[in-house]
C-alpha cells in the first residue's frame, strides 16, 4: 500500500476504495465477537465460506467477519447488506439455505427475530426492538467493518477526523472543541477529558505520553474489549488526535493479556496505519509525528487505576501511588501523561468530524453523548447497548433489554462494577447521567449493568464484590487492605447466619473510613456495593442476621431443601441427579432428602418437574421431620 501524504490523497484513496465496492452487492457479515465466538461463529463462518464457494457465488457475495454486533443473547448473528436482513442463532447447517436465499432474493423466515409482543417476524436489524431503541454512534460501525481491514474503516470515512484536526485546526482548537463538547471520561470517574488534556498540554516538558486504558477488569463488562476488537482504528484515530492536541509524540495502548483478539487486532491496525502514514513520522505529510506501542496487561484489577497502570507500563508492579502530583504533570517515567479509556478515545473522531455542538446536543446538561453498557445478568436480551445519556434505567432494561426472564420480578440493577452500587426498583426512572447515578450511591463506571431478579440475594452480592476487591486490593494502604478483609469477615458471618446485630453499624463505620482514607479509587469506592445494599435493602440484612433467613434462597448455610411427601411422585429424577446421593427412595417410594448429606446445591429443586413441584426450598424455619420409613410407599390417586 502506498503512503498517503495529504488530505487530498486520503480522499482519493477513499474514493478509490469506494469505487471498487458495489453498494448493492450482497454482503454477509458474521459477528465474531466474544459472545458469538463462544456460540461457535468460527464454524458458522467456515460453513458460509464453503457454501458460497459450492454455489459458485464467490464473485457475487462478500463475506465479512466483523466484531461484536451487540445482541449477544441471540448469537451467532448474521446481517446481510444492503437490505440489513438480520438472522439470529445461525448454525453452520443453515448456510445452504441462507446462501440460496441470497441468490433467490428471498428471506429465510425461520431465522428472523420474532417480536415477543406482536409475535411478528422482523426482517431488518434496525427494527428489532433491541437495536431500535439504541443510538449506536460509537459502537455502530463495529458491525460494518472487518477489524483487520483498514480499507473497511477508510470506506466509512476513517481517518478524516485526523486529517481535519491536523490540517484545519490548531492543537488549541482541537482542545477547545473537546472541552466544548464536554466529553467526560468513560472509564469510571467521568472527569472531563478536555480539562485533563489541557493540564497535560500545559505541563512543563517536551516529552509527553498519551495512553489508552483497555484494562477492563470489571467483572461482567466487555464494552471496551468489543470496541478494541471490533473497531481498533477508531481508537487509534482518537488517540492520534488527542496526541496532536496535547503535544505528545508517543502513545501506549494498555490492553489486557486476557483479550488476545484485542491485542491481535490492534497490533494489525497499528501496522496498517503506519504503512499508510496515519501513524508514525510526518503523519499525512503534516509534519506531526506520533508512534504507538502496545503494552499487554498481566491481569490485575488495580492496574486499571491511572497511576498504577503507568507503573505497569514502566515494567513494574502495577500499584497506585498517592496523586499529590497528578499524572498529567508526572506520569510514565515522570513525564506528563494523559490516560483515557477506550470508549473516550473512540468518541474523539466523532466530535472532530461533527463538531462539539452536535455532540453536546445528545444527552443531559452534565453528561453529553452516548454510553455503551454491557447489559447482562437476569435480563432477556443480554448484550452491548449504546444509549444516549439521559435515557432512563427502565428504558434500557425493559425496552432494550426486554425485561426479566421467566416472568420473575425485577429486584435491582448494579452499575459501575465493584466500585458501583445496587439500585432498587423505585429508582428505575432515574436518568443515566454521571451525576444522577452518583447521587443514588452508585456510579456510571465503565459500563457494567447487571440486572438482578428476585432470586438474587443482595447481601450475597455485596459479599461477592467485597470478596473480589479483597483479592484485587494491592495491599499498599491500610484502610483498603484491612478494611476489605474485615468487611469480608463480617459479610461471611452474615451469609452464614452468624451475623450479629451490631454488624450493620460496623460495616457502615468501615465504609466511612475506607471511603475517606484509602489511597486510590479502588479503596474509596469499594464500599459502594455494601453501603447501597444497606441503604436500599436493610431489611434483607436484618433477615439474615435476626431471622437466619435468606429471602432469595441463595445463602447456602441458611437454606434447606426437602421433599413435600404429598407432592412427590417418586419419579427418581432428583434421586438420580443428586451429586452426593443424599436422596433416598425408589420406584413407588416417596423420596426423602437426608439433611446431613445434602450440600444444598439445589440440583433437586432445579430438576423436579414443574408439574410436581415437590422439592421445597426453605429458609429461616426448620425442615419438617422426614416421613417415617413405613409411610413412604406411594399410593397413587385414583382417577
Amino acid at each position: 500500500m502506498a503512503r498517503i501524504n495529504s488530505p487530498t490523497e486520503l480522499e482519493e484513496l477513499r474514493q478509490e476504495i469506494l469505487s471498487q465496492r458495489d453498494p448493492n452487492k450482497p454482503c454477509l457479515t458474521i459477528c465474531s465477537g466474544t459472545g458469538c465466538h463462544a456460540y461457535g461463529s468460527e464454524k458458522v463462518n467456515s460453513a458460509f465460506v464453503e457454501e458460497v464457494k459450492r454455489q459458485g457465488l464467490e464473485s457475487k457475495v462478500d463475506i465479512r467477519r466483523t466484531g461484536c454486533h451487540g445482541f449477544c443473547e441471540r448469537g451467532t448473528l448474521i446481517v446481510i447488506y444492503p437490505e440489513e436482513i438480520c438472522y439470529i442463532q445461525v448454525q453452520p447447517e443453515d448456510a445452504a439455505e441462507v446462501v440460496q436465499s441470497i441468490k433467490d432474493g428471498k428471506v429465510v423466515e425461520r431465522l428472523l427475530y420474532t417480536d415477543p409482543v406482536s409475535a411478528k417476524k422482523i426482517v431488518r436489524e434496525a427494527e428489532i426492538p433491541f437495536y431500535k431503541n439504541q443510538s449506536r454512534i460509537v459502537f455502530g460501525n463495529n458491525r460494518r467493518i472487518d477489524p483487520k481491514s483498514i480499507e473497511d474503516y477508510l470506506a466509512l470515512g476513517g481517518y478524516s477526523a485526523l486529517a481535519k484536526a491536523l490540517f484545519q485546526m490548531t492543537p488549541e482548537q482541537v482542545l477547545e472543541e473537546v472541552k466544548k463538547a464536554n466529553l467526560r471520561g468513560r472509564g469510571g470517574g467521568g472527569f472531563p477529558a478536555g480539562r485533563k488534556w489541557e493540564e497535560c498540554r500545559n505541563a512543563p516538558g517536551d516529552i509527553k505520553y498519551v495512553i489508552v486504558n483497555c484494562d477492563e477488569g470489571d467483572p461482567g463488562a466487555y464494552m471496551d474489549r468489543s470496541l478494541m476488537e471490533g473497531n481498533p482504528h477508531s481508537v487509534l484515530e482518537g488517540l492520534a488526535i488527542g496526541a496532536y492536541a496535547i503535544g505528545s509524540h508517543e502513545g501506549f495502548i494498555y490492553v489486557r493479556q486476557e483479550y488476545p483478539l484485542a491485542v491481535e487486532n490492534v497490533t494489525t491496525a497499528i501496522k496498517q496505519a503506519e504503512e499508510y502514514g496515519f501513524l508514525g513520522e510526518n503523519i499525512l505529510g503534516s509534519g506531526f509525528d506520533f508512534k504507538v506501542r502496545i503494552h499487554r496487561g498481566a491481569g490485575a484489577f488495580v492496574s486499571g487505576e491511572s497511576s498504577a497502570l503507568m507503573t505497569a507500563l514502566e515494567g513494574g508492579v502495577g500499584e497506585p501511588r498517592p496523586k499529590y502530583i497528578r499524572t498529567a504533570i508526572s506520569g510514565v517515567w515522570e513525564k506528563p501523561s494523559n490516560l483515557n479509556n477506550v470508549e473516550t478515545w473512540a468518541n474523539v473522531p466523532l466530535i472532530i468530524n461533527n463538531g462539539a455542538e452536535w455532540f453536546a446536543s445528545i444527552g443531559t446538561e452534565g453528561s453529553k453523548g452516548t454510553k455503551i453498557f454491557s447489559l447482562v445478568g437476569k435480563v432477556n436480551n443480554t448484550g452491548l447497548v449504546e444509549v444516549p445519556m439521559g435515557i432512563t434505567l427502565r428504558d434500557i432494561i425493559y425496552n432494550i433489554g426486554g425485561g426479566i426472564p421467566e416472568g420473575k420480578k425485577f429486584k435491582a440493577v448494579q452499575t459501575g462494577g465493584p466500585s458501583g452500587g445496587i439500585i432498587p426498583e423505585q429508582y428505575l426512572n432515574s436518568l443515566v447521567d454521571f451525576d444522577e447515578l452518583t447521587k443514588l450511591g452508585s456510579m456510571m463506571g465503565s459500563g457494567g449493568m447487571i440486572v438482578m431478579d428476585e432470586d438474587t440475594c443482595v447481601v450475597d452480592m455485596a459479599r461477592y464484590f467485597i470478596d473480589f476487591l479483597c483479592d484485587e486490593s494491592c495491599g499498599k494502604c491500610i484502610p483498603c487492605r484491612e478494611g476489605l478483609k474485615r468487611m469480608r469477615e463480617v459479610l461471611n458471618d452474615i451469609v452464614k447466619g452468624e451475623g450479629k446485630k451490631e454488624d450493620i453499624e460496623l460495616l457502615e463505620e468501615l465504609s466511612r473510613v475506607m471511603s475517606k482514607a484509602s489511597l486510590c479509587a479502588l479503596g474509596t469506592t469499594a464500599t459502594n456495593p455494601v453501603s447501597t445494599t444497606i441503604r436500599y435493602f436493610g431489611d434483607e440484612y436484618r433477615a439474615h442476621i435476626e431471622e437466619k433467613r435468606c429471602p432469595a434462597f441463595v445463602c447456602k448455610e441458611l437454606v434447606s431443601y426437602y421433599i413435600e411427601p404429598s407432592k412427590c411422585q417418586a419419579c427418581l429424577i432428583c434421586l438420580r441427579n443428586c451429586p452426593v446421593e443424599a436422596i433416598s427412595g425408589g420406584k413407588n417410594q416417596i423420596h426423602v432428602i437426608e439433611q446431613s448429606k445434602c450440600t444444598k446445591c439445589g440440583t433437586c429443586f432445579d430438576v423436579c418437574p414443574p408439574r410436581f413441584q415437590a422439592v421445597v426450598r426453605s429458609s429461616g424455619e426448620p425442615v419438617p421431620p422426614p416421613l417415617p420409613e413405613e409411610q413412604r410407599v406411594l399410593v397413587r390417586g385414583k382417577k
Binding site: 466474544t34 459472545g35 465466538h37 463462544a38 456460540y39 449477544c72 443473547e73 448469537g75 477488569g217 470489571d218 467483572p219 461482567g220 463488562a221 466487555y222 474489549r225 468489543s226 493479556q257 486476557e258 483479550y259 503494552h295 499487554r296 498481566a298 491481569g299 490485575a300 484489577f301 505497569a312 507500563l313 514502566e314 515494567g315 513494574g316 508492579v317 502495577g318 517515567w333 454491557s374 447482562v376 445478568g377 437476569k378 443480554t382 448484550g383 448494579q414 462494577g417 457494567g448 447487571i450 438482578m452 438474587t456 452480592m461 461477592y464 464484590f465 473480589f468 494491592c474 441427579n577 451429586p579 452426593v580 450440600t599 446445591c601 439445589g602 440440583t603 432445579d606 430438576v607
Partner: protein, 150 residues
C-alpha cells in the same frame, strides 16, 4: 527447560524500556508457566534483582509459578455469571475434581481456575475447558462435561 528459548524471548526486546512484564508474559505463553530457571536467566541477562522479578510474577494473575495441568478448566464468576449461579458450578467442579480453584489435580490432568468475566455473559453461567465453551451450564451437567477430557 530450554535456555535458548528464554534467550530468544529476551532478545525480542532489545533496547526497550519497561519490558519485564512483556517478556514474562511471553515466557508464560511459551511454557504455560514461569520456571525458576527462566527467572534466573532474566535476572542475569537484564541485571534485574531476582526479588524484583518474583514480585512482579507473584503480583499478576496471568503469570504462574507452577506448571499447569493438561486441561485448563476456567469457571467464570463474573457478576453476570454469579447472579446466574456460577458459584454452584464452581462448587460442582471442585467436588468432581477434588481440588480447589487455583489448584492442579495430582495426575496433572486438570488445573482449575476461577476467572472474572470471559465476555460472553449471554451464555452465563459459563465454563471453558481448554478452548471449548460450555454455556448455560447446570450443576448436574458438570460431571459429564469433565468426563469428556480424561
Amino acid at each position: 527447560m530450554e535456555r535458548e528459548k528464554v534467550d530468544e524471548i529476551i532478545d525480542r526486546y532489545q533496547d526497550e524500556q519497561g519490558i519485564l512484564i512483556q517478556l514474562l508474559l511471553d515466557i508464560q505463553s511459551e511454557f504455560n508457566w514461569i520456571p525458576q530457571e527462566a527467572i534466573v536467566r532474566i535476572s542475569e541477562r537484564l541485571q534485574i534483582p531476582l526479588s524484583q522479578i518474583y514480585r512482579v510474577v507473584s503480583f499478576y494473575k496471568a503469570m504462574s509459578l507452577a506448571p499447569i495441568g493438561r486441561h485448563l478448566v476456567q469457571v467464570c464468576l463474573g457478576t453476570a455469571c454469579h447472579v446466574r449461579g456460577g458459584p454452584k458450578i464452581l462448587n460442582r467442579v471442585e467436588e468432581a475434581l477434588e481440588i480447589k480453584a487455583g489448584e492442579t489435580t495430582q495426575d496433572m490432568n486438570f488445573t482449575l481456575r476461577r476467572v472474572n468475566c470471559l465476555g460472553c455473559c449471554a451464555l452465563g453461567p459459563v465454563m471453558i475447558v481448554d478452548k471449548d465453551y460450555h454455556g448455560k451450564i447446570m450443576p448436574a451437567m458438570v460431571k459429564e462435561v469433565l468426563e469428556g477430557y480424561d
